[in-house]
Subunit: 215 residues, 2 copies
Amino acid sequence: MTGVTASDGPGASARGDGATRRRGRPRRTESGGTRDRILDAAREEFSSRGYEKTTVRGIARSAGVDSALVHHYFGTKEQVFEAAVEVAFAPAFTARDKVLEGPLDEVGERMTRMIIGLWESPVTRAPLLAIVRSAVNNETAAGVFRRLIAGQLLRRIAGRLDLPDAELRAELAAAQLVGIAMVRYVIKVEPLASADAEQIIRRVAPVVQGHLTGR
Amino acid sequence: MTGVTASDGPGASARGDGATRRRGRPRRTESGGTRDRILDAAREEFSSRGYEKTTVRGIARSAGVDSALVHHYFGTKEQVFEAAVEVAFAPAFTARDKVLEGPLDEVGERMTRMIIGLWESPVTRAPLLAIVRSAVNNETAAGVFRRLIAGQLLRRIAGRLDLPDAELRAELAAAQLVGIAMVRYVIKVEPLASADAEQIIRRVAPVVQGHLTGR
């Protein structure tokens, strides 16, 4: 039953999307407990140490299993990282589906609210910060981040725009929001760091909308 | 004569701006050679290792001097970092003065061209990337970056706007450009990573202008 519950959870679509990469490996339903324990340990290790300093051996130790089992379930360190990032991004993927629904002339506000919302919540901010740190420091981690952001988020938003330069538009919109996250939550420059979230959304949503559907 | 030439160089204004912090320490003109050698070694060490892994001892070794001399000229590791970052930012400070001059209704384009220009040039991109990495990873390095970005760049641009929320406006504009830098040059998401710089400027300059002087 654990498997059923889990595949109804917010991470399900993310894991489903990435399933092709894990052909031939045991499915979540077969031994969800161990797999989940490894994944929790991996998220914890990558969050606190960053990509470079995390080892498969350390993840295995923290999960109380043998390293071989980590490799068996996930493959390489890069693949464990990708699985851990997918779980951390699960709330974003759920939120993304809400961004894609609804009228196109408000997609900018929905996208802005989604990203600001993920960074405002301490629960999602910590893993996001860990992913950004890893991606900035390490080319492999940047690659994972890039595939996920481009494939799962930007390409889908671009798909709704029906414009020839839709992907570039989606990325320029994302760049505005990535920059807000960097200045407000990572580098913490005032007055943006302490500004009211609604004030920021009010100013930024029209800009994001402009990138997506403007002239 | 070295000292005179150096204080006419692009780093002069940056060092002049920060001079109050180095009261009582030997001036550049007194022993510019050693000080410059230490600063070059510091930039190299911080660039290749990042803030956390760099040590004053390592900088001293690389400059061929005693650690005490590094402390004598600059103070703590944080202060050496600040001096090194100021030198790396010198081209930005020179460019900033050009951004501040000229008509206000084109300040968005000048600011966009300045930031894209700094990231497009391999000479300035490498130290910028090193600073971003250090700032994302380390709270002390983030503080140095914050003081410099806010004090030297954003507050000056805000000063030209003559609007009550000028600082927030300058930061939202900067956030758009920081985001472009992250997506294009650090994480390298396509198609933005390979897009023509002029195409990006054409799309982004009006947005930056809007943040700075719009409704």
